[in-house]
């Protein structure tokens, strides 16, 4: 009991503590307010933030004297976007290995890997995503040579060094086709590896101080101890899986390991087993744009997956932003699900549900329900002011606050754009334009 738990407690205590020193009290008024709760937007509303927290949002909110107001006329206000299961902050150039900390194919460790020390708040992609309205994220490690990718973290995208909101927030395990490949060649092997690992974890956690582990182990001690948090449900287990049958196999794990706090990641064929997922109360994080049989485990892919699962009562978030699938595309993806509402035979989301799928729902699945991704009293003061309907392609944030702190929106891309806005080199080379 150990130092690890003490550390966890310390982290819990600092959970979502805003940078109070810079947080300003402010109110956005006269704006179209979408709180992220799944409801439709509220015309002519107000959002009031004090001490880094949302105090009130909606119609008829009084702004106390002395609180700075931002006129939101003609604009929209939403909670900051929550990017679920992303590689943000883990690479500079994805294809340049030296700059990429998403996976480690020569490490002896797997489940023990923890992204926290590698997170880089100065990453260009943090700035680009922040400019796109993304204020929080769950950052995941990626699989290398094991079905276990390691432990992900919850972060905020504030322009400050304090990026980590919660470290070791979840463990990621890959099952299905790629899990089978990683485990030695089959899904059977992947499930054997998973069960063995959880057994070794249980034994490792139960060891008395100073006692030796048994010799016939496959996991390193660190990996086994890391999985100890998964078995007792103190750490969520994110399971990458696509096929309907594979989803059932994951849900069945609960019979052997009742405390597993499961989250399905991917679930492209989730709509085929939506009622079972709903009954198991297991949430889903998915890429909603998959509509091709990209593999034999995604034969039934359709953009109606999210809508059908939601209709069956599954808690579904849009996520899995990695590589060229950038976190700032979340509103476009959500908007596409709204578009399905006018396609015969398709099942999409209402506008409010679509916004929730990129704000409050991923926050809830990440354990931040009511604390982020929503404009509700007591939630973090993550607020985005948009120049139009936030899900529309033509819209963009004009102001972003994180924990009540107004954020800078420039980044390396905006610098390049300014330099090359014209191509005039009559008097000096472009290199002098900075």
């Amino acid at each position: 009991m150990s130092r690890r738990l003490v550390l966890a407690a310390a982290l819990a205590a600092s959970f979502l503590a805003p940078c109070a020193a810079f947080a300003q009290d402010f109110a956005v008024t006269n704006a179209t307010v979408a709180t992220g709760d799944g409801g439709e937007p509220i015309a002519n509303g107000t959002v009031l933030v004090r001490g880094g927290k949302v105090v009130a949002a909606g119609a008829g909110v009084a702004v106390p004297a002395g609180v700075q107001t931002v006129d939101g006329s003609g604009k929209w206000v939403t909670p900051g976007l929550f990017s679920a299961v992303t590689d943000l902050g883990l690479w500079d150039v994805e294809g340049v290995d030296d700059s990429n900390d998403t996976s480690a194919d020569k490490s002896p460790f797997n489940a023990a890997l923890d992204v926290v020390p590698a997170l880089n708040p100065a990453s260009e992609h943090i700035g680009v995503s922040r400019e796109g309205g993304v204020t929080r994220a769950s950052v995941t490690p990626f699989n290398a040579e094991s079905i276990f990718a390691g432990q992900g973290a919850l972060v905020d995208l504030g322009a400050d060094p304090a990026m980590v909101v919660k470290g070791r927030a979840f463990q990621y395990v890959e099952l299905g086709e790629s899990g089978g490949r990683l485990a030695g060649g089959s899904r059977v092997a992947a499930h054997a590896a998973l069960r063995n690992a959880l057994r070794e974890a249980r034994e490792a956690v139960a060891l008395q101080p100073g006692a030796q582990r048994q010799g016939d182990v496959l996991l390193t001690r660190e990996d086994a101890l890391a999985l100890g948090r998964v078995i007792d449900g103190t750490q969520a287990l994110y399971v990458g899986v696509e096929r309907a049958a594979d989803i059932r196999s994951v849900l069945a794990l609960r019979a052997e390991f009742p405390k597993l706090d499961l989250v399905l990641v991917g679930a492209t064929e989730g709509w085929l087993v939506a009622s079972e997922i709903a009954a198991a109360q297991v949430p889903v994080i998915t890429n909603p744009m998959h509509d091709l049989p990209a593999s034999f485990e995604m034969l039934a892919a359709t953009m109606s997956n999210v809508g059908r699962m939601k209709k069956a009562g599954v808690k579904v978030a849009i996520g899995m932003f990695a590589g060229s699938d950038q976190p700032r595309y979340a509103p476009q993806q959500a908007g596409n699900l709204v578009a399905l509402g006018r396609i015969q035979g398709a099942t999409g989301l209402s506008w409010g549900e679509a916004l929730a799928a990129i704000t409050s729902v991923p926050a809830e699945i990440s354990g931040l329900g009511g604390k982020a991704g929503i404009l509700a009293p007591g939630a973090a003061g993550d607020v985005v002011l948009w120049d139009g309907d936030p899900l529309e392609l033509s819209s963009a944030p004009v102001a972003v606050w994180i924990d009540g702190v107004k954020q800078p929106l420039g980044n390396r891309q905006s610098r390049l754009r300014e330099r090359y806005k014209d191509l005039d080199e009559t008097y000096q080379p472009k290199a002098y334009a900075w």
């Binding site: 500079d92 150039v93 994805e94 294809g95 340049v96 260009e124 992609h125 309907a244 064929e269 085929l272 744009m289 998959h290 509509d291 091709l292 049989p293 990209a294 593999s295 034999f296 995604m298 034969l299 039934a300 892919a301 359709t302 953009m303 109606s304 590589g323 060229s324 950038q326 476009q332 908007g335 596409n336 709204v338 578009a339 399905l340 006018r342 396609i343 015969q344 035979g345 398709a346 899900l391 529309e392 392609l393 033509s394 819209s395 963009a396 891309q413 390049l416 754009r417 090359y420 806005k421 191509l423 472009k430």
Partner: protein, 455 residues
């Protein structure tokens, strides 16, 4: 179009000169020449005379008609005009009020069929990664017509024509093929009648990485250029020779030098594009379009002066070193310079939303004061693509006499909330959102979970 024709003429003149120098030597290849091999067998499917009435019409060439009328019959556009354009008798009249009409969407950069879904080794036929120059291979010999990606591109993306390219592992990857997006048992049944061939070339990281990794040339950018230049020198020699021994690869390069085959050049960095333009001048060929040109905005003036299109994503960046300087304003800054913009996908998902990518790029421009009108932006994924594929005289715009490749959208195609409602290819209704059976289902998906589902 004019410049393309004159280059072709120049190529013909050079060929004649070569023959003249050695008039008695017969060109054995010409003896063997018959109809084009692997010729298109595509025939338009039957359609009905149709009038789209009351919609907002973007003609693909910058024109916009509110409350417009589009008429097509016999596979051809027969009229595009305002509300006063008379609808001939016998036409099916479709109420387009509140809706939008554009030319069929065109993707200049796709790997559908050569890198199909499912993405498995057995079907991965897009890169002949055994030599840095493979101008002898033809993408059409790899295309799997049953790729479900074609059906999604039609239904969700309104794509009616597309160019399938070999991958970018090689400096000269082989010949591309232009297809009509019509389901067929054979690739010949999809081939766009009369479309010119293109040679896929690639500069930068990919070729040097692939071959450098095998310990062979090229392993550097200078190696890339050396291999290319020698290939052009050899091709020129072949072209001026008697063709006694036929060389498939040099046939392709000769076609480029004669201006009969276009060049689609994968190239990210501005400085490299400038070098490629000089290589083209050195050997007397023309680069039609730079693909993935994420740094094109740095040389919009140069691209305009050389009449080269930039085929780009809206805002992909950062995934590799040569993509590090990609910015969302790329398209808008190019448009500001008067350079040709094409929005491409290079992606089986992106091809379903070229209209949305263009809208993102437009919006990024508007935020820095570069306001490109909607009607011009529609050209980024219709006419400009057609022009850079050499089919701009046949499709890509709604003009009298052109192929009736038409999309009726249920809203503004530059809005995230809009989708194709009906898609016609050569006047034949190939997709109708209101008719669950009027959409293609590939052999691969028959009998599978999700067969015929909305996708």
């Amino acid at each position: 179009m004019r410049r393309w024709a004159s280059l072709a003429a120049l190529g013909a003149a050079l060929t004649m000169g070569a023959h003249g120098a050695d008039a008695k030597k017969k060109d054995k290849r010409e003896d063997a020449s018959g109809p084009a091999p692997y010729a298109s067998t595509y025939k338009p499917y039957p359609g009905r005379p149709t009038a789209l009435v009351g919609a907002t019409v973007y003609d693909g060439r910058g024109g916009r008609i509110d409350n417009g009328t589009v008429l097509f019959e016999g596979g051809r556009v027969v009229g595009v005009g305002a509300a006063d354009l008379a609808v001939p008798s016998g036409y099916d009249r479709i109420d387009g009020r509140g809706k939008f009409v554009t030319p069929g969407v065109i993707d200049i950069h796709s790997h559908l069929g050569v890198y199909p879904s499912p993405s498995i080794e057995a079907l991965s036929d897009g890169n002949e990664m055994t030599s840095p120059t493979t101008p002898d291979v033809w993408a059409e010999h790899s295309v799997w017509p049953q790729d479900p990606g074609f059906t999604r591109a039609l239904v969700n993306g309104g794509v009616t024509s597309l160019q399938i390219l070999p991958g970018s592992a090689n400096l000269m990857g082989g010949r591309a093929v232009t297809l009509k997006n019509v389901a067929s048992r054979t690739v010949q049944g999809m081939k766009f009648p009369g479309a010119p061939y293109s040679l896929k070339m690639a500069c930068g990281e990919n070729p040097k990485r692939v071959y450098g990794g095998k310990g062979q040339k090229p392993s550097t950018r200078m190696g890339n250029f050396a291999v290319n230049r020698q290939a052009w020198i050899d091709a020129r020699q072949y072209m001026e020779g008697d063709h006694a021994e036929r060389d498939l690869g040099k046939d392709t390069l000769e076609g480029v030098l004669k201006g009969e085959i276009m060049v689609q050049n994968h190239c990210y960095r501005a400085d490299e594009m400038a070098l490629v333009l000089d290589m083209a001048k050195e050997f007397g060929y023309k680069v039609t379009a730079f693909h993935h040109a994420v740094e094109a905005y740095k040389i919009g003036d140069l691209l305009r002066a050389n009449d080269v299109c930039a085929a780009i994503w809206a805002d992909w960046y950062g995934f590799k070193m040569e993509a590090y300087d990609g910015i969302p304003e790329n398209a808008a800054l190019l448009a500001k310079q008067g350079a040709c913009v094409v929005i491409h996908s290079d992606d089986e998902n992106g091809i379903q939303r070229l209209n949305q990518a263009a809208a993102r790029a437009q919006a990024a421009g508007r935020r820095i004061g570069v306001d490109v009108p909607d009607a011009q932006v529609v050209g980024w994924f219709t006419y400009n693509a057609a022009k850079a594929m050499g089919i701009g005289e046949k499709t890509g715009s709604l003009e009298k006499g052109k192929m009736a490749d038409v999309v009726l959208w249920n809203g503004n195609p530059l809005s995230v909330y809009s989708r194709p409602e009906k898609v016609w290819v050569d006047g034949a209704l190939m997709y109708d959102a209101a008719d669950p059976k009027r959409k293609p289902v590939s052999d691969f998906e028959l009998g599978q979970p999700g067969e015929g589902d909305v996708k």
